[in-house]
Point group: C2
Chain length 518, copies 2
C-alpha cells in the first residue's frame, strides 16, 4: 500500500467519509486510493470555492469534518475565500492539498507556489507531510485539531508521499482532546457580573452555544438575572424557530448596532468576539459597545461552551428557571403577500412556508435583512450564515448541508451578486440530486454597495460607479444558467408566482432554483 | 482631494487607464474617485478571477499594466490563481487591494486577514500604503516595478488612506528604469557556445523575445550557427503565423519532451527557465534536458531580451543572414474536415479559418494539443497561453485581450472543465460587447486526468474516480449558460456545423460561444 491509501484509511477510521474534491495531476494517487474505498463519498466541485464551501456546510451540520482534495497552491488559492468563512465559523475541516513531489520543487515548475504562505491566513493548522510514513500521523493530527481547536486544518501532500510505499498496518482511531472546561473562577466572575448588572448585562453567544439545549439554558440564566442575550452578526449555525430561543443578532448597520447595544454595561462573551463594525466608517466607532462596557470572557472558542453555560446556570441556581425569549407559535393564520414581488415579500413567503426541520443557508446579503426576524416563529429549523464576509458561499454551503442531512430540506437564500461567485455549485447540486431550493434575489445590483456609496457621501452615480455596482446590461438569466447546469428552475415577478413556485419546490425532491426578480 | 483621487491621478498620468474591478465596501472611496475620472475605463468582473485574468490578457497585448480593484484578503484570494498565471508570464499588473482602515484592523472584523501572506506567493512586489500621502508614491513604485521587473504588483490600500485628505498637487509621470542590458561577456559566452555546439545547441526563448522582430533575429542566429530554437511549454504571448518564425514549443508529455530535447548539448536561456516536467512522475526525470547539457543564461526575465538577441546576432555576424524556420504560406487550398466532430477537427477548422491579426487565447488543455502546430502557417496572429497551469484563465484572458485590442478578433480555445472555473467572465464579454469567439471543447471530462490516471497505473476506473474525473451526469449545457449571461451561442456536433457556426461568428461583431461537442 502507499501513502495515499494510508491517508484514506486514517480518514475513514475516524469517521471522515465525505471528500469534496477537485483533483489535478499531482493528486492522481490520492484519487486512485479513494477509488479503492467505495465507503468514501467523493463529491466533485467544478471550482475549489465550491469544494471548501461545501465542506463548511457539511461540517456545520454533521459536527464532524469532511476532507477536501485540492490541487497545488493555485487550486487551494481558489478555495481560500470559503476557508476564510469556515475559519470564522470555527468549522472543522481537513484540507488535503496536493503538491509536487518533494524533489520536484527545486525545479520551480509552473504550478509551484508557497502553499504554506497561502494557507496560513485561512487555516488554524497547517502541516506539510514529509514522508509516506508521515501521512498517517499528519492526517491524524489534522483530524484531532479540526475537532479540538476546532477549526480549519490544511495538510500539504507531496505527490511522492502519496505514491511512496508504507508498511500495511491496522490504523486505529485518533484520540481527540476534549474541549477545554472553563475555569470555575471565570464562571463565578461571570455570575457575579450578571447579578450586578442585571438588565444592563448580556450574553454574547457563539459556536456550539447556539444549539437548542445550551440556548435554553442561557435563556434560563437570562430569566433569572434579567440579562439580555445576543448572537454575533454572523453565525455558523443557530438552532431556532418556535419553541426555541428567539435570539437577537447584532445588527450590521453600525448606527443600528450602536443603538441596539447602547445600554449594555457588561458583556459576557461565550466563545464570541467583542462586537465590532463589519467595516470602519469615517467618524464612527469600531467597537459597538460603549467605552465603559465591561467585557468578560466566560469562554474562548476552543472551550466547552455548552459546559460553560451549564456551569453558569448552576452557579446562578437557574437550572430550573423558565427560560426567557422562547418563540411562541404564531397566533393568527399567515396571509401571504401579493402583488409585484420585492425582497421583503419573498422573505415573508419563505418564512411563512418554511418546512419544519429545514436548513436555511442565508447569503441574501441586503435582500434578506428582515428574514431572520421573520423566522423567529417559523417551525424549528437550522440557520447558517456567511461568517467571514467572503461572498460566494451560499450555493456551496447548501451543497454541504444537503450532503450531511439528506432527509432535510435545504433552503438557500441567495443574493445574485454573491451567487455568481460560485455559481458552478449548482452543477454539484444537480450531480448529487441534492434536496435544495435556491431563492435568487435578482435585484441585478450589488445593492449593499449602493448603500455604502451613499454612506461615503456619493448620491449621484456617474457611469463608472454604475458600471461597477450594477449587474444589469445584460441582466443575468438565472433560469437559463441553472438549467444549463442541470438544475430545474423558474422565475417569479409577482408574490403570487413566487409563492406558487416555492410551494411546488417544497413539494418535490431534488434541486430547484427560483429567480425572484425584485 | 483624498488619497483615492491621488491614486487615480497617479495611474492616469502614467497611462494606466483601464481598471478591472470587483469592489466592496472598503473600496467605496476608490470607486467614488474612479467615478470622477471618466477617462478611466472601469470593467466589472463578477468574480475576482475574472478581474486578474482580464488584467493579464490586457497587459500581454497592451504592453502596459491595467489596474485591478480587489476587496480585502478574501477578494484577493479569489484573484490569486490568475495572478499566479500572470506572475509566470511576467505580466505587468497593478493590483489595488482595499483593506480595513488602519485603526480597524485591531478589531479583527470578519473580513480581516493577512493580505501580505496571501499576496506574496503570487506577486513580484507587495506594498502596504501607510498614509494618504503615501498613496501616490506607492502606486508610482508599483507602476515602475510592474514594467521594470516586469511583473505582478500588489498594493494594499487601507480605507482611511483612500478617504484621508491629501494636498492637491500636479502629479507627474513616474520614471521607469530601463530594462537591464545584458553584459557583453554573457553575449560572447553564448556566441562561443553556439559556434561550438552548432546543431546540438538551442535557444530557449521567452517574454519579449517571442515578438516578431526578436524572433526573426534569433532565427538569423540559428541559420548562421545551425542552432535550434524553442519556446517554453507555455508562453505569455507569441507573435506567429505565416512569414514569422514557426517556433517549436517544449512538449507537455514528459517522454515526448525528453525525446524532443535529447540531442541538445547546450541550451541558451533567453529569459527562460530550464525546461522541466510540469509534474513529477515516479521514475522519470524532472529536468527535460540530459544531465550533460550545458546551460547558459544569456538573459534573465527582467533583462532587455530583444537587446540581448540583437547583441548576440551582432557578435555572431548574423544580422543579415536569412532567418531559419520562417513559416511559408500554405501550398494547397485547405479542405475542411467533415463528419462527426472531434477535438482535432475543431482545431483544424479554427486553424484553417483563423483571421489575420487575430488573438488566440488557448486554454484548450488536452483538446488542443495539435492546434499550435496547425497554426504555424495560419495568417499572422498572436498566441496567448496558460502560463502557470492554474486553470480558469481562458475566458478572462479573452476579455483582457479584447479590451486592449478592440479592432482585433479574439478567439478563445477553451476546455470545458477549466472554462467552468471562471465561467462568470462570459457576462463581462456581453457587458462590454467584446469581439470574442469562444470555442468550448465539450468533452465532458477532465480528459487530461484520465491520461494521468493511466500514467499512475490505473486503467479500470471505479465509481469514485469516475465521479471525480468526469463532468457528465448531468452534461453542462454551454449554450444555455452563455445565453444566461447574455452571450449568443450555438452547438455543433458535426464538423460541418462547427465550420458553419465558426464562420458565422467570425462574420459578426461581439461575443459568441460555440459548444463543440466532442
Amino acid at each position: 500500500m502507499n501513502g495515499a491509501d494510508r491517508l484514506c484509511d486514517t480518514l475513514l477510521v475516524n469517521g471522515v467519509d465525505v471528500c469534496f474534491a477537485n483533483p489535478g495531476t499531482s493528486e492522481m494517487h490520492f484519487v486512485a486510493a479513494l477509488d479503492r474505498k467505495p465507503q468514501m463519498r467523493c463529491v466533485l466541485g467544478l471550482f475549489e470555492g465550491v469544494v471548501t464551501g461545501a465542506a463548511d456546510g457539511y461540517a456545520r451540520m454533521a459536527d464532524k469534518p469532511a476532507a477536501t482534495l485540492l490541487h497545488c497552491g493555485p487550486g487551494m488559492a481558489n478555495a481560500l475565500a470559503n476557508m476564510h468563512n469556515a475559519r470564522r465559523a470555527w468549522t472543522p475541516m481537513i484540507n488535503v492539498v496536493g503538491d509536487h513531489a518533494t524533489y520536484h520543487l527545486v525545479h520551480d515548475a509552473p504550478l509551484t507556489s508557497d502553499i504554506e504562505s497561502l494557507a496560513a491566513p485561512m487555516s488554524h493548522f497547517v502541516r506539510r507531510i514529509a514522508t509516506p510514513d508521515d501521512v498517517g500521523p499528519a492526517i491524524g493530527e489534522a483530524y484531532a485539531a479540526s475537532l479540538s481547536l476546532p477549526g480549519v486544518t490544511t495538510v500539504i501532500l507531496p505527490a511522492d508521499c502519496a505514491w511512496g510505499s508504507v508498511e500495511p498496518a491496522e490504523v486505529g482511531p485518533t484520540p481527540v482532546p476534549a474541549l477545554k472546561t472553563v475555569a470555575a473562577a471565570s464562571v463565578r466572575e461571570a455570575a457575579a457580573a450578571l447579578r450586578k448588572h442585571g438588565a444592563r448585562a448580556a450574553l454574547m453567544m457563539s459556536g456550539l452555544s447556539l444549539r437548542e439545549g445550551p440556548m435554553a439554558t442561557a435563556a434560563r440564566i437570562c430569566a433569572a438575572t434579567g440579562a439580555g442575550m445576543f448572537g454575533q452578526m454572523s453565525n455558523g449555525r443557530i438552532e431556532r424557530g418556535v419553541g426555541r430561543v428567539a435570539l437577537p443578532k447584532v445588527f450590521y448597520p453600525v448606527d443600528m448596532a450602536l443603538e441596539q447595544l447602547k445600554d449594555i454595561d457588561c458583556l459576557v462573551l461565550v466563545g464570541a468576539q467583542i462586537p465590532v463594525g463589519f467595516f470602519a466608517y469615517p467618524g464612527k466607532p469600531g467597537r459597538l459597545v460603549h467605552e465603559g462596557c465591561a467585557i468578560l470572557n466566560l469562554a474562548m472558542p476552543g472551550d466547552d461552551l455548552p459546559g460553560a453555560i451549564a456551569a453558569l446556570a448552576d452557579e446562578l441556581g437557574a437550572t430550573r428557571t423558565a427560560p426567557a425569549f422562547v418563540a411562541r407559535p404564531r397566533d393568527e393564520p399567515i396571509v401571504l403577500p401579493t402583488g409585484p414581488l420585492d425582497a421583503d415579500k419573498a422573505c415573508a413567503i419563505v418564512a411563512a412556508l418554511l418546512p419544519e426541520n429545514s436548513i436555511v443557508c442565508d447569503e441574501s446579503v441586503s435582500s434578506g435583512r428582515m428574514f431572520y426576524q421573520q423566522c423567529h416563529r417559523a417551525p424549528p429549523h437550522d440557520y447558517l450564515q456567511l461568517t467571514g464576509g467572503a461572498i460566494g458561499e451560499g450555493i456551496p454551503l447548501c451543497v454541504g448541508a444537503a450532503v450531511a442531512c439528506p432527509d432535510r430540506k435545504v433552503i438557500g437564500m441567495q443574493a445574485d451578486g454573491s451567487g455568481m461567485y460560485t455559481v458552478q455549485g449548482l452543477w454539484t447540486q444537480a450531480r448529487e440530486n441534492l434536496d435544495i431550493v435556491t431563492v435568487i434575489f435578482a435585484n441585478r445590483t450589488y445593492a449593499i454597495l449602493h448603500g455604502e456609496m451613499r454612506a461615503v457621501g456619493v448620491n449621484d452615480f456617474g457611469r463608472n460607479a454604475r458600471l461597477m455596482l450594477n449587474l444589469d446590461e445584460p441582466a443575468l438569466d438565472w433560469v437559463m444558467m441553472a438549467k444549463g447546469m442541470g438544475v430545474e428552475a423558474g422565475r417569479a415577478t409577482t408574490a403570487e408566482e413566487f409563492a406558487r413556485l416555492f410551494k411546488a419546490a417544497l413539494g418535490r425532491k431534488g434541486p430547484f432554483l427560483i429567480e425572484a426578480v425584485i
